[in-house]
């Protein structure tokens, strides 16, 4: 979380302001708040969700373990057509010498009408307890039901979605799946079919080699103790588990020459170079980011530096956390947005096609945010349904006593607008609603349409502060369309590319898995502006054919597209 040529010097003199309670951010002059025009409404209260990720900082050990926070996943575990919410719970420290303990995760079933119920124990997700961080969702055994993978410190858990008397439940199958339960320190994870057999592989980021035996605290003139930077610890190699298709996984680090020099915090699997095969992008902390392109021989080739996505425009590594992928400029290519540490810009790597990317943070308006944020969860979504992907970012510092920034920070909302014929992001945070106008310790973030109203909602996990459910108020009369991709074989469709044409304009989405400790809903949402129908839909199925549907598809509803089926429902 900090980029330094000369780490000792750049760590100099930190300390000062902190905040543990939400503070209202002053609205910039000339931008009066009009609550009736707010983009989002915080609907956490009364939703039945009252859950807080806890990091154990009250023990004042100042461990780097406390920095990461937790994630959220939006997925329909019971097949009722509504996105349910899973959140990791974190942990705490007990005794002296301290032991690292876990707190329960939570699964909330979406009851509709903005109400949720806690079904964690009922579906068997209340065990095991370990200090948790991230979550990834995929139907790993291709039985048609989404399964869960939870990461954390010294433990991971794979939960299989199984039938139960009450509907669906989860059974922990980590050991029998062949995934080592005791992976050292797993952060973000992502599933995706990397070899074309239909079964999703699993990539698990590892952060670094911290333990209490190697624990360090860092002090400064004004601060007797604080969390040390990642430079104080060694990187740890990531894990890539090949799915055998028989309900088990095999660790295959050497097959793909995975790099062990990254301190992995975020990962996304998607087809990033448009060749029909899923690739992997890893956001590393204080080390170069990695891009593993999936070669035709089934091998992964790390080429982040060659493709221009490993460092910033000055050639320096960043402290990277969150990742999001989007065709924000309607080029038809997948660009990558990476959130970074304070005193760094978030990096927008624009995809130029032909396996080439270019750092476009400045021209795209991202640099205007400045460098005061420590950015974590990030997502692209067309929040205003105008046909162009916007951006939401969860922010919050990792140092207990940061200097030049606050511990709690306001989230950022950026609108994708036209700027003399090119696209640019303009900050509209003050118009985001009361949540955006206050300070939080944001970490994992997921986007999905919780109420199926055609307007994407946002869920944010915080450190020691309750999860926020942000309902998209959909204040304009614009239209949208939502697509669900299906395969009769229930094979993994991550890596698929979806293009629609509406009102003569084409838009593209990339089916991906991962992010920062979190997982967005798997439905594909397109804002259509004033268009009331989609004229054409095209899906280039991952490792499959390209299928085209050409007829008017009514807006403002969900359409299901099934591989090799001409029908669209």
């Amino acid at each position: 979380m900090a980029r330094m040529i000369f780490p000792i010097l750049l760590l100099a003199v930190l300390g000062c302001t902190s905040s543990s309670t939400p503070v209202v951010v002053p609205v910039p002059p000339g931008r009066a708040v009009q609550p009736d025009r707010d983009w989002f409404e915080d609907r956490t209260a009364g939703s039945g969700i009252d859950f807080t990720y806890k990091n154990g900082e009250e023990a004042n050990h100042y461990t780097i373990l406390e920095s990461l926070g937790g994630g959220v996943a939006l997925f329909d575990f019971d097949g009722d057509g509504r996105l349910d919410l899973f959140a990791t719970g974190g942990g705490y420290f007990e005794g002296n010498p301290p032991a690292i303990r876990g707190l329960p995760n939570k699964l909330y079933r979406n009851l509709g009408n903005g109400k949720f119920e806690d079904v964690t124990a009922a579906v068997g997700l209340n065990q095991p307890l370990f200090y948790s961080h991230g979550v990834a969702v995929s139907d790993f055994n291709c039985d048609g039901w989404p399964d869960l993978f939870v990461t954390g410190y010294g433990r991971v858990a794979l939960y299989q979605n199984v039938p139960a008397a009450t509907g669906r439940a989860f059974r922990e199958v980590t050991r029998e799946s062949g995934i080592p339960e005791n992976l050292p320190w797993s952060t973000s994870a992502a599933f995706g079919d990397l070899d074309g057999d239909g079964f999703p592989e699993l990539f698990v980021c590892q952060y670094l080699d911290w333990s209490f035996a190697k624990h360090k605290t860092c002090s400064r003139t004004s601060v007797p103790a604080d969390v040390c930077s990642p430079h104080a610890y060694q990187a740890a190699r990531p894990y890539l588990f090949r799915n055998t298709g028989k309900g088990t996984f095999v660790d295959v680090p050497n097959t793909h020459n995975l790099k062990a020099d990254g301190k992995g915090l975020g990962v996304v699997i998607a087809d990033l170079n448009g060749d029909g095969r899923s690739d992997i992008y890893v956001a590393n902390d204080a080390s170069a980011n990695h891009l593993y392109l999936n070669a035709s021989d089934g091998k992964l080739l790390e080429c982040g530096q060659d493709r221009g996505v490993s460092v910033d425009e000055t050639g320096h590594v960043n402290g990277s956390m969150g990742i999001a992928v989007s065709d924000w400029d309607r080029s038809g290519f997948a660009s990558i947005l990476v959130t970074n540490f304070q005193n760094e810009w978030h990096a927008l790597y624009q995809n130029l096609g032909k396996d080439r990317f270019q750092y476009q943070t400045h021209r795209a308006g991202i640099a205007k945010l400045g460098q005061k944020y420590v950015g974590f969860g990030v997502a692209f979504a067309d929040f205003d349904n105008d046909g162009w992907d916007d951006v939401v970012i969860a922010n919050g510092h990792v140092l207990r006593h940061p200097e030049g920034a606050t511990l709690a920070q306001n989230p950022v909302l950026m609108q994708n607008v036209d700027a003399d014929g090119r696209r640019k992001f303009v900050e509209v945070t003050p118009e985001g609603g009361p949540y955006f106008r206050s300070l939080h310790r944001g970490r994992g973030l997921a986007v999905g349409d919780l109420d199926n109203d055609g307007w994407p909602d946002v869920v944010v996990s915080h450190v020691n502060e309750p999860i926020a459910i942000l309902h998209n108020r959909g204040t304009s009369k614009k239209h949208s369309i939502t697509l669900q991709l299906r395969s009769e074989s229930h094979r993994s469709l991550v890596g698929s590319k979806i293009t629609i044409v509406a009102g003569g304009q084409s838009q593209t989405r990339f089916l991906s898995c991962g992010g920062y400790l979190s997982q967005n809903g798997s439905e594909i949402h397109f804002g259509l502006g004033t268009a009331e129908a989609v004229e054409r839909m095209e899906v280039r199925w991952a490792y499959g054919k390209t299928q085209v549907w050409e007829r008017p598809f009514a807006a403002d509803r969900v359409w299901t597209l099934t591989e090799n089926s001409p029908a669209a429902k």
Binding site: F6, L11, E313, G315, N343, H362
Partner: protein, 362 residues
Amino acid sequence: MSQTHRWIIVASVVILGGIGYYFAFARESKSIALAKDAVAVRDFPKAIELLKSTLGESGGNTGTLLFAARTARRGDQFGLADQYLRRYSTSGDAEIFAIERILAGIQRGELSQFMGGLRFCEKNPTHPEVPYVLEAMSQGYLKAGHIVGTLDSTERWLATGPTAADQAQAHVWRGSCFRSIGNLDTARTEARTALELAPGFLDAHVLLGDLLTSSDPDMALVHWQTASAQKPNLREAKLGIARCYRNLGETKQAFEQLKSLLDADAYDTLALIERAKLYLDSKAYDEAIRDAQKVLAFDTKSRIAITILAQAYQATGREPEALLLRKQVQEIEEALFKRITEKVAAGLLPAPQKGTDLTVHE
């Protein structure tokens, strides 16, 4: 001519002479007073102009000559300072003369003189010369790239209670030091303190503008524009404004700012680098390559120019050339790392110390 007439003439001459002398003296006093006012706000160029017209090419009383010598030296006009000092030496105090010569050396960054200056301040903490010695040491250390020395001497200088403008100057120098070691937050605090003490202080606006250009380009633009309004041809301000516009995504305005700089000097390397970045942003790769190569023609080790060139090559499919350039960047970084390490070892940069900043507790 009668006796009476003679007396009238003598009296008239005496009176007119007296009046003339009175007006000349008053004018000189007024000029010196104005010069002192200018020095109080560190407007050394104005003070020097006033003193030049007052003192002329020769003569002058010792007090004014010393004031002029000191003012010229504080304003970095060492040649002029030396001229006044030599005129002062004919009837002035030999010890003061010697001290002023030493201070000129210290201020120029002659490290050999520093220990004597420091010992003098420590032995004679209340001596009226001490603030001047510490000010000169602060500047000298800064010029010599001695961060620890600059921070120490500015701290001592501030403790002597100098004028608000002098305090602002000390904070700007401190801010520059903190910037150079990457402690940007403290550097910003120093620059803001300077502006609180002296709201219109150009150097503080320039420093804060520079420090905010990346972190808060909107606010940085205000500081750069304030600096530019004070000094319309200030190159740093034009460059800063261009950088802010780029960070704000206002490519067109950024190009316009750089145009005026490059019209004045087609080989302004900093402006060329900024324009190369803008061309890169705009996907005008050939132009980016041309500007980066222009810079490299003068500065073959320009890390940023090489990086821009590598990016432009990478974006245009010239991967092997991009790869070679990235290797070159790595070599430059290694060399820089070595240099910084050596500076820390030589005590020219702060090293981690137990119980203070940067301490890692196992």
